[in-house]
Amino acid sequence: MSTNNLNTQQTVDAAKRDFLKAGAKATAAVAVVTLAPGVTLYSVGAKAAVTGPATSERRWGMLIDATAPEDIWDIAVDACKTEQGWGGGNNPATDPQWIRKVSVKDPKTGAKATLPVMCQHCENPPCVDVCPTGASMQRADGIVLVDKHICIGCRYCMMACPYACRSFVHENVTGQKPHMPRGKGTVESCTLCVHRIDKGQLPACVEAVTTAGSDAMLFGDLNDPNSDISRAVSKYVTQRIRQDLGVEPSVHYRGI
């Protein structure tokens, strides 16, 4: 584990406990009726959305320790692939990448860092501004998503994203996950694992890194002054990529 740990393992565990509690409540509200062998009806009742509709009271964010051993980011990338069903293609230039490991080196000093880059879920997202149909949209809690039903595949959002965090689906996709429909001809990117967050779980990348014993990724509510992430970003000086652009990314980094 890095000497620059962002917080102790205990606080991570505490955060996980809170999420798991919320997740348990959400799971309990889903009624399951077996109509016939193999035919199951899942009814999500009004009470199911324990966390309620997304509100601006929350602002989900991440704090990433770029000084952590770089192998840990492979775990984060693999977890995202498994969770969201992307990866495995043979065309590096056109295969989607929702999260990637980026190596940075200062040519003057030789200092290096490796960090994961995914959708930065900006407060002022250029991709949302430029989308002609509103398919690129931002939830009240700051999560930036693509509505695949009204994305026309114009790729203007990809032109506008300062972080190259969006991918265009260039060919037929296989192995889709029920919670994450994908489609050829539309644009996609990190959803911050919105389907997990809404159940009170951690994003897949954060959970995988945490499970591997690292605290290099911290996820939480930036609007809650008592959350671990809020305490951490108020304790350490953090950077956000291209914060000069004023897009206010919600992903913070340390050690770039």
Binding site: T94, I152, R155, K184
Partner: protein
């Protein structure tokens, strides 16, 4: 009001040459539909476009046609808005060509979408913060306004109102090209774009590209239909084209010099102007040399500038230079890597920090060319069935037309 003494007549269009032309244009237009189907069926993986170069050859052609559509209307505007009556006999063809070029450009743009089947979504769901969404209104509005303008010019009862329609069309098309330039000007994160000068530069480009296309159209059509085309109108268009080419050069120089002054833009300027390989070649040799300096020399050299051939070659060069300019802006602007960590060396499996490669694929080129073919097909069919072309553009006719109009009307907007 201006009294239009010009006699307009449909072209005969019964010869083998005409049918061969229309046939070939139809084949090219159909090939574009086929290319689009191929791209949609297999996905954009069959194109040269990638997740880094997201806009490629189709966009170069589409933007060229859309920009030229706005510019070609200039001939109409000069006659109705600025009361330069030499241009009046060509106003109908100018408006029709504007509609045709816009249709061709939009066809390419729509057929390149990841989901062209969702065009209805683009027409019904709007994000008004998006310049793209504004452009959808600007494009459809352009069609409606120019159609009304054309109708008023062709229907003598409405002729008194054609000037007002012309003024509206003039203002609208300035807005339209501002919108097209702003598609790039609003991209704050890309060092190759993000410049307010994009909008006026695109307007200057539209003037030059549109007029170049129009000169070629008039010279070819009049030669093919054996109608007289005098030097007077040709030389006036030549002078205007020279001014427009110079205007594009001015905006291009202003953009690059401004960027060169800012240290943060040195990287992208070095890339485009010095070590960008194909983009540097296209900029200096094709855009500046073949597309600007060479045509200027041709137009203002007495030996070539006074011949129809010299003016036509110069117009072709402007078109070639224009396509190169848009290639450099659109593809070159993406090929230069995003500056996520300015001053740092960056690498990743997603090609961060690298100059992105792009090779146009056949379906993309065919789709792009089909936009031009579609526009020309519309013009070719329209001039056969509608009285758009004057029977004569001879010097004598232009002078008579001008002197009659001059007596009746001198002030603009009357």
């Amino acid at each position: 009001m201006a009294l239009d003494t010009t006699v307009y007549k449909e072209i005969e269009g019964t010869g083998a040459d005409y049918y061969a032309l229309v046939g070939w244009l139809a084949v090219f237009a159909a090939a574009g539909l086929g290319a689009s189907y191929y791209m949609e069926h297999y996905g954009h993986v069959v194109t040269g476009m990638t997740n880094a170069i997201v806009w490629g050859t189709p966009h170069v052609f589409a933007v060229f046609l859309i920009v030229a559509a706005s510019g070609v209307l200039n001939v109409s505007s000069i006659s109705s808005v600025f009361s330069k009556h030499h241009y009046k006999p060509m106003a109908r063809l100018s408006a029709l060509t504007a509609l045709a070029l816009l249709a061709g450009g939009l066809m390419v743009l729509v057929l390149d979408l990841g989901r062209p089947d969702r065009l209805i979504v683009a027409m019904t769901k709007y994000n008004f913060k998006s310049i793209f969404a504004w452009n959808i209104y600007l494009y459809t509005g352009f069609f409606v306004i120019v159609l009304i303008y054309l109708w008023m010019m062709m229907e003598r009862r409405f002729a008194p109102h054609s000037k007002k329609a012309g003024l509206l069309a003039f203002v609208w098309r300035l807005a339209l090209t501002t919108g097209t330039g702003s598609i790039f000007g609003f991209l704050v994160a890309r060092p190759g774009y993000d410049a307010a000068i994009m909008a006026p530069m695109f307007i200057a480009m539209s003037f030059a590209f549109g007029l170049a296309i129009f000169i070629l159209l008039v010279t070819v059509t009049y030669k093919a239909s054996e109608r007289p085309l005098g030097d007077l109108i040709l030389f006036k268009m030549r002078n205007l084209l020279g001014v427009f080419i110079a205007a594009v050069l001015y905006f291009t120089a202003a953009m690059h010099l401004t960027n060169l002054y800012a240290a943060e833009h040195m990287g992208v300027e070095r890339f485009i102007l010095m070590d960008g390989g194909i983009y540097t070649f296209l900029f200096w040799v094709v855009q500046i040399g073949i597309g600007s300096v060479f045509p200027l020399a041709l137009l203002f050299n007495p030996a070539t500038g006074r011949t129809c051939q010299g003016i036509s070659i110069a117009s072709m060069m402007v078109i070639v230079g224009g396509l190169a300019q848009l290639y450099v802006i659109i593809v070159g602007g993406q090929a230069f890597p995003l500056q996520m960590f300015p001053g740092m060396e960056v690498s990743s499996s997603f090609f961060d920090g690298q100059v992105h490669g792009y090779a146009p694929s056949l379906p993309e080129v065919v789709l792009g060319l089909s936009g031009i073919a579609t526009a020309l097909l519309i013009v070719a069919v329209a001039v056969k069935y509608l009285p758009l072309l004057p029977v004569s553009l001879s010097d004598a006719h232009i002078r008579i037309s001008r002197s009659l109009d001059h007596h009746i009307e001198d002030a603009p907007f009357s």
